[in-house]
């Protein structure tokens, strides 16, 4: 068992990128013996599509003015975004070994000051969409064609600030915002829909004046089509992609594990998880 995935000759597909992102995340989890790995596995297809289909950026220059911004509102998903940034070439793969250790650029919760490509300090949930509104206003002022992608979790919909920001994004016709909600229906105290009913989410957000799509967030073709449709919508309105995802996706024994906000993985299971990912690697 090596840490590197077996080499392939062809240009990697988005599904292959998602597989590698999952692999990077599991390796980080193994290094630290913990991490929000179930969330990383569920959002990998969305991140792969964002970084290898939808977004413009320069891996060697993460602060490039023309880049599309990616805001991680749910800072505990940092392990997932680090994995995507590693796959994108923004962070060297060798830094996987530093994950969560003292003085690492990859702390357990995402912070702007620590990590190249991390545009905000998340962790206190509910911040991201408000920042996105300001960035989107700023980009329009600069007549930039860059867009603001912002990822947040279904649990964050409990925060009133999300709805303040949704209202204002529509008010200011911020068609340069693409918000992605990860609906894995799990938050700290239980199923998100039971902690605080948020459905019918599409209808609610559409009523706020947004372009809304609801998709299977683990179907790469559907995710690609959703990012394309968000790009192509000509109406001057913000875009939201509601992605239903499966926690632990790609590792069957984690998919089947009792759902929890923070899923425990035993020391010997990280290797098993890598093997499961390799077994399910896209053809």
């Amino acid at each position: 068992m090596t840490t590197a995935e077996p080499p392939r000759a062809n240009a990697p597909s988005i599904a292959e990128r998602a597989y590698r992102i999952r692999r990077h995340a599991v390796r980080m989890g193994e290094v630290q013996g913990q991490g929000y790995i179930a969330q990383a596995l569920d959002i990998a297809d969305v991140l792969a599509t964002a970084y290898f289909h939808a977004m413009n950026y320069r891996p060697e220059d993460p602060a490039w003015e023309g880049r599309d911004r990616f805001l991680l509102s749910n800072g505990h998903y940092a392990i997932a975004l680090y994995a995507a940034l590693i796959e994108a070439g923004v962070i060297p793969e060798a830094e996987i070994e530093t994950y969560g250790f003292d003085d690492s650029r990859l702390p357990m919760s995402g912070m702007a000051q620590y990590t190249p490509g991390m545009e905000m300090s998340g962790g206190s949930l509910g911040l991201g969409l408000s920042i996105a509104v300001g960035m989107a206003l700023g980009l329009k002022r600069k007549q930039s064609s860059a867009r603001v992608f912002v990822l947040f979790s279904d649990g964050e919909l409990d925060e009133g600030s999300k709805w303040e920001a949704m209202m204002s994004a529509a008010h200011y016709r911020l068609d340069n915002i693409v918000a992605i909600v990860d609906v894995n229906n799990q938050q700290a105290d239980g199923a998100s829909s039971e902690v605080m009913a948020f459905e019918p989410l599409s209808d609610k957000v559409r009523a706020f004046g947004w372009h809304v799509q609801r998709i299977d967030g683990n179907d790469v073709d559907a995710v690609v089509a959703a990012f394309d449709a968000a790009r192509d919508d000509a109406e001057p309105r913000p875009k939201m992609i509601i992605a239903d995802t499966l926690m632990g996706k790609g590792v069957p024994f984690l998919e089947a594990r009792e759902k929890n906000h923070f899923i425990r993985v035993e020391a010997d299971e990280w290797r098993l998880a890598l093997q499961a990912l390799d077994a399910g690697r896209p053809a």
């Binding site: 912070m111 702007a112 000051q113 545009e119 905000m120 300090s121 962790g123 206190s124 509910g126 911040l127 969409l129 408000s130 920042i131 996105a132 509104v133 300001g134 960035m135 989107a136 206003l137 700023g138 980009l139 002022r141 600069k142 009133g160 600030s161 303040e164 920001a165 209202m167 204002s168 008010h171 200011y172």
Partner: protein
């Protein structure tokens, strides 16, 4: 029931001060909306400056800026968390937002947003907040008696409590020139004009002696400096010679000047602030003096650690000991 014996018939009854009442005494020289006009002047040379508010443009003098630069002003609605989150986003894109609301809403409702999206990321956002301390007769909902304590405790945040219109006009360009987040207590509307007569000039991070004196050193901030100067005149009638050291920058604190002045010896040292006695300038100065081994006779004038009453501002300022007469009589008692 024909009368209410609790209401004294002879005493004039003051009405509750309007929400946006001026703190100017009758006949006092004032200047209108110094913050708004100063911001317009700075913004003429600084296209990066943006105005933002949460449904309180008219009540924070930002309407002056909006009239001059309508396309550089954002109304964020009555949503303070959004206001500061979006201000962070604009700052991330290279703009310099001046975001205004009432001090109670910035310090209490939006504290985490300011902490996480502005201070923690060291974004160049300027926060200007009206109704600081006890400058509203509407009760605790509008009386920001603890804002200095809260923002002092926030890393990266510069905290300024200006005294009057003359100072606000100088604070605004200094805030704009400073690279980093700033919280400013805002006096709006008809703002008293006092410090111009003393030849005073604001410098960020500097405490300045506005008036010298042998018997008492009043270390004051914000509008308490004008109260201290009035109190010093009253004390002079009783042959008490009071110095006034004005400390507009609460953080970073000018410890060097404070230690030099308080260490001169022989003077009662009184800190005066329009803020709860918990966590503001008084405790900051006491800490500085103790740690440096400077031990003058020390007293503290501030608002009590309680929810304050509604009513007329002159009544409340007397009741809670921050009017000029209350300051001077308390100092006389301590001498």
């Amino acid at each position: 029931m024909t009368s209410n014996s609790n209401v004294p018939a002879a005493k004039p009854r003051l009405t509750t001060s309007a929400m946006i009442a001026s703190i100017a005494a009758e006949g006092q020289r004032t200047r209108l909306a110094p913050f708004g006009h100063a911001l317009v002047e700075v913004a003429k040379k600084r296209p990066d400056i943006i105005g933002m508010t949460a449904d309180l443009g008219k009540y924070t003098d930002l309407h002056i800026f909006k009239a001059a630069f309508p396309d550089r002003t954002y109304q964020m609605g009555m949503a303070e968390q959004l206001l500061f989150g979006a201000a962070s986003g604009l700052a991330a894109e290279g703009f310099t937002p001046f975001a205004t609301t009432y001090a109670v809403f910035a310090s209490r409702r939006a504290y985490d947003f300011i902490h996480q999206t502005i201070a923690e990321e060291n974004r160049n956002v300027k926060i200007a907040c009206a109704l600081p301390g006890l400058t509203s007769g509407y009760g605790p909902s509008h009386q920001a008696t603890e804002d200095l304590a809260l923002f002092r405790a926030m890393p990266n945040m510069t905290v300024i409590d200006p005294c009057d219109a003359h100072e606000i006009e100088q604070v605004v360009p200094a805030m704009a020139a400073h690279n980093g987040p700033v919280y400013m207590r805002l006096l709006r509307g008809q703002v008293p004009l006092v410090l111009d007569e003393y030849g005073y000039q604001f410098e960020l991070g500097k405490a300045k002696t506005v008036r010298d004196g042998r018997d008492v050193l009043i270390i004051s901030t914000g509008l308490m400096t004008m109260r201290a100067l009035e109190a010093a005149k009253l004390l002079a009638n009783d042959r008490v010679d009071a110095a006034v050291l004005h400390v507009p920058t609460i953080k970073p604190l000018d410890t060097e000047t404070i230690l030099r002045e308080a260490g001169k010896g022989g003077r009662l040292v009184v800190v005066a602030e329009n803020h709860t006695v918990v966590g503001g300038l008084g405790e900051a100065v006491a800490s500085v003096l103790l740690q440096a081994g400077v031990h003058p006779k020390y007293r503290h004038i501030g608002l009590p650690d309680e929810f304050l009453h509604a009513g007329a501002l002159p009544t409340l300022h007397d009741r809670y000991g921050i009017s000029a007469t209350a300051v001077s009589s308390r100092i006389k008692a301590w001498l």
